[in-house]
Symmetry: C2
Amino acid sequence: MGNNDSWLETMRHSAAHIMAEAVLRLFPDAKFGIGPAIEDGFYYDFELPRPLTPDDLPAIEGIMRQIIAEDGAFVQRELTKEEARSVFADQPYKLELLEDLPEDHVSVFTQGMFADLCRGPHADHAAQMGAFKLVRTAGAYWRGDESQPMLQRIYGVAFETEDELQAHLDKLAEAAKRDHRKLGRDLDLFSIHDEIGPGLVCWHPNGALVRQLIEDFWKAEHQRRGYGIVYTPHIGKLDQWKQSGHWEFYRENLYSPMEVDGRQYLLKPMNCLGHILIFRSRLRSYRELPIRMAELGTVYRYERGGVLYGLTRVRGFTQDDAHIFCRQDQIREEVVGVIQLAQFMMATFGFENYEMVLATRPEKYAGTSEEWEVATAALIAALESLDIDYEEDPGGGAFYGPKIDVKLADAMGRDWQGPTIQVDFNLPQRFNVCYIGEDGDEHLVTMIHRTVLGSMERFFACLVEHYGGAFPVWLSPVQARIVPIADRHLEYAHSVEGRLRRAGLRVEVDGRSERMGSKIRDAQLARIPYMLIIGDKEIESGGASLRLRSGGDVGFCTIDDVETRIRGAVENRA
Amino acid sequence: MGNNDSWLETMRHSAAHIMAEAVLRLFPDAKFGIGPAIEDGFYYDFELPRPLTPDDLPAIEGIMRQIIAEDGAFVQRELTKEEARSVFADQPYKLELLEDLPEDHVSVFTQGMFADLCRGPHADHAAQMGAFKLVRTAGAYWRGDESQPMLQRIYGVAFETEDELQAHLDKLAEAAKRDHRKLGRDLDLFSIHDEIGPGLVCWHPNGALVRQLIEDFWKAEHQRRGYGIVYTPHIGKLDQWKQSGHWEFYRENLYSPMEVDGRQYLLKPMNCLGHILIFRSRLRSYRELPIRMAELGTVYRYERGGVLYGLTRVRGFTQDDAHIFCRQDQIREEVVGVIQLAQFMMATFGFENYEMVLATRPEKYAGTSEEWEVATAALIAALESLDIDYEEDPGGGAFYGPKIDVKLADAMGRDWQGPTIQVDFNLPQRFNVCYIGEDGDEHLVTMIHRTVLGSMERFFACLVEHYGGAFPVWLSPVQARIVPIADRHLEYAHSVEGRLRRAGLRVEVDGRSERMGSKIRDAQLARIPYMLIIGDKEIESGGASLRLRSGGDVGFCTIDDVETRIRGAVENRA
């Protein structure tokens, strides 16, 4: 026992048992699922006679504190399975777990009146508990299986000191304020409707505008760097997905086929095959390579209902996808180009911290070991030529080639999946994707799959939380709101609106008959970067009082000043 | 008989019989389908012992001229069905047609050795034929039914005079040169692959760039006019399409459902329902109306394989769709706005001739007759306030509301389906799409469905043919090609390329070691608007010799001049 990670995990696990005992005191008929330590805390799953409400958590917490004050010991016993069966006679979930254990003897921990089938380790005494808090309840299928009963889960967080706990709770509160699902509603960005189906997203004008601005920027940047943008259909014959291997290896994530004219068609789970067909639509010479083909391609993949979450786990999403068709000797240079593009994108969106991971050849692989060596060396050479520190994940590559993954840290220090660059030796072979070499013969191309944003849905969720909904000026759906103090200032307000709109800015007038204070508060809640307050004085001087959403008060500005300032922020993407 | 349309049709029909007799002389075992007059000519369907080749057409034409020289008479006889059965004893298709006729007596026309089951009228003598030519063969299912045998069809064109025929053949040749399927291959714009499926389009970088420029223009113009752009999923639960009525009324054009978690899902055939859900995602006040929601929404509709054609009849297409949710008293103003937007778009793309058609209430209709009156009056008021001449199509509206359709004429005078504006009383009712009125009560909104381009696929096909592949400068995938005369001019050529690219222009260097003449020819074939020829003299004077794709030679220009000229053309969308 000590102040290290392993003690923290032990303490959290013991806290789960103490919570279970508290629940047992409150609901003597409770049936118990499992209760592990997790990152930052613990949970336990219960079958209870009634649904828990948020009000139950303080009550359970109170009983836990009482149990801790009683300071019962955690006692471990070795029982035969037969003995254990009688201990858990009225606990069907424990009995089920018991039957799955291969050993003859099992470990049972008891503290107070609560016994659990558990290997430990645990604290010695309840009083060793640190600072904790129960934070929320959730439904959870027994064993994560949707065909099994739904249990009630209580989550707690636990740390060694009250200060650490409070810091974590503050972080949770900040995360809750930034939650993209909450801000998605508050800022009218997107919605998901049961009428259409779970995991399928409707982008509202505000969210779609941000997406469009990101897409426009993405397209221009790709075209500048020699990518050709394409569009390919969302459905296609199933046969091609059999030929690619997706039907065999990836089937549980595919939708069920549709039948058209007696042939089976599939919603596309990825964009590769359309790009291969475009590449193959005419003979390609070595002189034309590399050919870089990019698509904002919407793909559909089945995910279990239980794992869907806001915009981060969905069933339909738009990948910022690209495939580079190149010669083997071009891999290094192409990967350098992709990394530079990724760095440029991450810098633009304000991600300063990220980690790159090089994943190498697994046990089972496509292609020859020589190809793997050449490609892996090319990836390493690319990373090194850019002076990038990277971690290695030996054997972590896809079966079809080595890859580089980038993990982004957002403004709150949380990790998000970032750009990914994968070499592919498999598809060129399966679809005979060739170019005519200098020698006049056919050679297989090397394909590089890559995304820099991942998917528009997940990246947008990440941005919403990263910025806390306060998008930078170039991405803000409304860049400035004009707030006339009284009705007599409305006409001038609209003339300023027209002037700024003609300058290409997104501006609106709050013409409601509300008090100025509440108009300013509403503009701040809507995260609008600039507010132009207009009253008698401002009209007289031919300008506006400029306020920032941060609360900062710039004071009187001419409309020229305002335009220059906003346009500057747009152009710098600041 | 005379020089009017009805004689022309009679003559064409007789030409079909003469062609049938010629085929009979060539293939004594030929079986005959049907052979009507059509626009510009005629066709006949045959079952023949071998496939026809293009070489057969002159031979058949030769026999036709011989038959005309023989000047046999067209003789009509009334036969009993029994007699007719013996005349057509070895003609199974004729026998099948015969059995479908309700009459006891049937009309049979004979000329030379060929007899046909036919009501006429016909020419008196073969020598009355005008000028004709056989133009192509095609496969055609008997009775247009894919489960029936495939027959061989020969198409001919026929006019009264050789001059008229020649003018028509010239027009056909010009149309063939502009055919978007041919130019799609030649200019590397798009492809359709059997591996994906018929009617499903892959847009190549060149075509996709034109589409993207049109889409960017479209989006900016819509946002400027107060539309919010949205994105909605390509699949959704089947239930909503049952509620909308599409499953009942439109089923033969829908794909078969997929199953997800035991629920049926459908590929969306239209974008309305997602927009309705976004509208309904919060309470809407009368003060917020109209709400204009636009989407470049890709939809999938089943079309029979036989009717698919290039980009004009496809199975997946992107509609430039929008829905306006408004109060009844706003219909007129909104329709005025849509017509003005449509006129602006048509003018931008160089369509000067179009016709508007107002289609009014059919026999069966949704909504009340009062609603129809108000809406129809609003459409008329909109057309009249813009001084637009329109035709009326009484009873031609959709069951759910009146509409205005626009027919475009392209550079060759051919009609294309253009913008359409439809009022809808049905969906607001079926989905209870309401706003809160000034009176505090719920009222059904009026929905206006509209597209201004139709679909990106069909509109792009239309543009390709309208411009003959020579897109205006702002849409050209490559705006200028720099042609260095010798290798020593390459470095300067690339510096000019860099300079113009930084100015935002799409420029490339033809660095091949080909002769200048063939480089210029290739640039013209690629329809690149500007060629910059660079040799010793140009480098010395610090400029380039400018040529136009039309063949025009502008002569020496500084690079500043070139930039100004191209940017001017882009900005004017000229």
